[in-house]
Symmetry: C2
Subunit: 164 residues, 2 copies
């Protein structure tokens, strides 16, 4: 029998299959997973523990759909920040619930954030709330129309498992 794992970090084929399986059917639990994967229960348990300890799997929190919460509109805003006010802007944006995500990016101290709103009209309110803050020089908003590839990780997991 091949020995799967070696030293260091990264994931092997079994890890990849386990993650993929859990992604497809999160409810199945360790025992059922071990049956599906054809390995002993203890193995699955050990793999899961290790994957979580390594930070590969952060957790199993509920995946909430903003649309079902009443926020069907998504937009991305590129922000230009006045020099030296980055920290204030970050704090401000973090306080806005409709800001789901914020990144600082290369460019000139710019930021990119993901917003949601109850409607296109409501988006105006959100944008006003976001950009109505000293330190934001300019904002460019792109409204999402379609989402051909929803946030995913499985293809990358499979590639990482292949690359051993």
């Amino acid at each position: 029998m091949a020995k799967g794992r070696r030293a260091g970090m990264g994931i092997d084929a079994l890890d990849g299959r386990l993650i993929t399986l859990l992604d497809r059917e999160p409810r199945i639990g360790v025992l059922e997973a071990s049956r599906r994967l054809g390995v002993a229960r203890g193995t699955v348990q050990a793999r899961l523990d290790r994957l979580q300890a390594q930070g590969v799997i952060r957790g199993f929190g509920p995946q909430v759909d903003p649309a079902a919460l009443g926020y069907p509109v998504t937009a991305f805003a590129t922000l230009e920040i006045k020099q030296g006010l980055g920290a204030d802007v970050r704090a401000h944006l973090a306080s806005v619930p409709e800001v789901l995500e914020l990144h600082t990016t290369t460019g000139e101290g710019d930021m990119l954030c993901r917003l949601v709103a109850r409607s296109n009209g409501d988006l105006q309110r959100v944008i006003d709330k976001v950009v109505g803050f000293e330190g934001i020089v300019r904002a460019a908003t792109a409204i999402v129309m379609e989402n051909p590839v929803p946030l995913r990780i499985i293809p990358l997991v499979e590639q990482a498992a292949r690359d051993v």
Copy 2:
């Protein structure tokens, strides 16, 4: 005793507390959750069933960290697409594992996608793979430096629960 829910959709305060609790401690299960929330187990079970049926909670899949998989670099690419080739481009991007997410946005048939790579150097390879495709006229890439607000949903859930 107040009657929590009414008709229609949306979430009430108990739903909000439940989601928040599960987000913080996903492993606790229905029974423990009912204890923490101070309600009957059947209530938590019913709420969870309903939230999933409504699509508010999509599932409890593993949250995988690309960085821990060996892809610590994140970037956003804005793509300009040649008229009429949108479908081909979507299919192409969907086939690239490093493309974690793809949106079509307002503008001129533009797209925005999230990429990851093994390093800044590797990012070049990924970008070449992404834009080396007939139909993509131009691409502007922004590399993520910091992520002051990681993808989150709890603040929005709490607001949605408050607005009843």
